[in-house]
């Protein structure tokens, strides 16, 4: 029993207008390229014949690819007006060649021009953005209704879920958020001192850091971190439940997925965001104070007393007022994207990405709107 691999080949013997083609070797997937070139060459090298017989006696092995190639060759010869017959083919080879004959022609999808496709793409994106907005608003409405339902029947509220989410969002998220705002507070203070020193106005760094941290920085950093940590987790959790029909299971049991999954998460975010934002502000101010002391030579007592005179309650409350709104935006986007997941793993990945990107974008837009609002009411 020999196991040497023999390359597929063919020999042609012509007699008048008749040709005998002897196929030899292994006509299998391992010789894919060679078979493809045979498929192109053979009909060409045949010349002017009226009748061709394919001799399969010396064929070592044949699989679907080989059979397909033989079938294609005889099909091409046939359409050139050559009569083709198989010679000395075993039963098995004939069944295989018969099985690979295409019953229906492959469908080629119509191709559109690049420009049309580009325009269609742009149009689709715009329509989608509009639909996103409408869906977002209607979803927030749905959540408000669900919260109303919960208020009427507090016993039906899922407290355990709320507490779990609070732990995940606030308790586990606090260390990293505190660390980041601490570092950013340090950096802002260092840059402030470095730039203000030239004007001899180092002491104003306290105003700078105090206002920017309390009004904007702590909350924004906090919202971005929460969108990345918790928003992505919401989308992934709800999305994988959607993939495995768990959402449908809830629905047929008469449970509203918004009540069960969305409300506890969004409420947890609404509670957690102000807490996290407060912690972040304190960490940022602490970092700024530390750098002012070490790098700027401002003693802690000076820093604190100046902070007291510059910062009033309004600066402090602006950050806290904005926090719950940010929470709603992040939570709603994360849950909508989760519920939009289709069946595939790829879709889950796309929705998680979309959730984080959209949430961060919307948080910044909302922050800008708040800035204009507070400026115009002189708050």
């Amino acid at each position: 029993m020999t196991t040497t691999l023999s390359n597929p080949a063919f020999e042609i013997t012509c007699a008048q207008d008749q040709a005998t083609i002897v196929l030899t070797g292994e006509w299998t997937l391992d010789h894919g390229r060679r078979l493809e070139s045979i498929m192109r060459q053979l009909p060409v090298s045949l010349g002017e014949v009226r009748k061709a017989s394919l001799d399969l006696k010396r064929l070592d092995r044949l699989d679907t690819l080989g059979a397909r190639v033989i079938e294609q060759i005889s099909h091409r010869l046939g359409s050139d007006g050559v009569r083709v017959e198989m010679q000395d083919a075993s039963e098995r080879h004939l069944t295989l060649i018969g099985a690979v004959r295409h019953r229906n022609e492959p469908v080629v999808p119509p191709r559109r021009s690049r420009l049309v496709e580009l325009l269609a793409d742009v149009g689709q994106t715009v329509v989608q953005a509009g639909q996103d907005l409408v869906r977002g608003i209607s979803f927030i409405g749905e959540v408000v209704v669900a919260i109303g339902r919960v208020m009427l029947r507090p016993a039906s509220f899922r407290w355990a879920s709320l507490v779990t989410q609070l732990e995940l969002i606030a308790f586990r998220g606090a260390p990293i958020i505190i660390l980041i705002t601490f570092l950013v507070g340090c950096i802002v203070a260092q840059q402030g001192i470095f730039q203000l020193r030239r004007f001899g106005a180092t002491a104003f760094v306290v105003d700078l850091v105090g206002i920017i941290t309390l009004r904007e920085l702590a909350l924004l950093l906090c919202a971005i971190m929460v969108a990345g940590r918790s928003g992505s987790a919401f989308t992934a959790e709800i999305g994988s439940m959607k993939m495995r029909e768990e959402i449908d299971a809830l629905r047929v049991m008469g449970l509203n997925p918004v009540d069960v999954l969305v409300v506890p998460r969004i409420l947890a975010l609404i509670i957690a965001m102000p807490i996290l934002s407060f912690l972040a502000s304190m960490a940022g101010l602490f970092g700024a104070g530390l750098v002012s002391w070490i790098y700027g030579g401002i003693a802690p007592e000076t820093f604190l007393s100046r902070l007291q005179s510059v910062i009033n309650y309004r600066h402090f409350s602006v950050g806290l007022i904005k926090a719950p709104f940010m929470a709603v935006v992040i939570g709603a986007i994360a849950c909508i994207e989760g519920l939009n997941v289709k069946g595939s793993a790829e879709s889950l990945g796309q929705q998680v990405t979309a959730s984080v990107v959209k949430a961060i974008f919307m948080v910044i837009v909302l922050d800008g709107l708040f800035a204009m609002f507070f400026a115009s009411i002189r708050f």
Binding site: L29, L65, L96, S344
Partner: protein, 260 residues
């Protein structure tokens, strides 16, 4: 070549005294089984008795604690990394739930092993994928669909098409007809029979389906008490004295089926 060696040649899979345990729990204990070239072997057993574990042990997806498994005459323990890749080209697996890659279309799923192992032009690969799709009885437009857009029966067929991508000599089917309606299941049995005859396949089929066992299997092996307790044709199963085999093949459902 003597008779014994010739007989060994015809054994595609040879399992001897296989022991598989998860922690303290022994699943298979001293199991031996042969799969002969060109046959369809049906493998039955109660739920949770380790039918899938045997398949996974042969495929190398679970560790075994003892015994030997040889596939195509080479012992899986002593085979080299390259030899193992060669072996993997020669078998195809259809998982119970299809295990199609959800981010790829059906045609792309079928082309995954082709891309990995073969040197073919894209045109030829598309042609072959279309061919496999047609061979398993799917409509030509199924190739461009994603697994999430397919029905349960179509997923099974697509998974079979992927298992056949490299023209394997042996295919493992894990409960191919589970979740299909009786007509779909009968069609699938016919399909496996037809493919086995045209492609000269050897089929190792884990199944619960009495109809599949009766209509398409050449031999049946029954798993109980952590080992194979009976091997043979359907009529041998019916005369077996082992209590589990007896209740499976001569139970109410089996008898109802025979009468019907």
């Amino acid at each position: 070549m003597d008779a014994a060696a010739q007989a060994d040649q015809d054994l595609i899979i040879k399992v001897r005294d296989l022991v598989v345990a998860f922690g303290e729990k022994t699943i298979l204990d001293g199991l031996s089984l042969d799969v002969r070239r060109g046959e369809i072997l049906g493998f039955v057993g109660g739920s949770g008795t380790g039918k899938s574990v045997l398949t996974r042990a042969i495929l190398g997806l679970v560790e075994k604690q003892g015994g030997t498994i040889s596939v195509f005459g080479s012992d899986l323990d002593s085979v080299s990394e390259a030899g193992r890749r060669e072996l993997e080209k020669r078998w195809g697996v259809m998982f119970q739930h299809g295990a199609l890659f959800s981010s790829l279309t059906v045609a792309q799923n079928i082309q995954v092993p082709m891309r990995e192992y073969l040197d073919l032009s894209p045109t030829m690969m598309n042609d072959l994928a279309a061919l496999k799709i047609e061979m398993v009885g799917l409509r030509p437009d199924a190739g461009d669909k994603f697994p999430s857009e397919l029905s349960g029966g179509m997923i099974k067929r697509a998974a079979l098409a992927r298992a056949l991508a490299l023209d394997p000599e042996v295919v493992f089917l894990d409960e191919p007809t589970s979740g299909l309606d009786p007509i779909g299941a009968a069609d699938f049995d016919d399909l496996i029979r037809t493919l086995q005859q045209t492609l000269g396949l050897t089929v190792f089929m884990v199944t619960h389906d009495l109809d599949s066992l009766a209509s398409s299997c050449d031999r049946i092996a029954a798993l109980a008490d952590k080992k194979v307790v009976a091997v043979g044709e359907l009529k041998d199963m019916r005369t077996s004295t082992h209590p589990w085999v007896k209740s499976y093949f001569r139970g109410k459902r089996a008898l109802a089926r025979m009468k019907g």
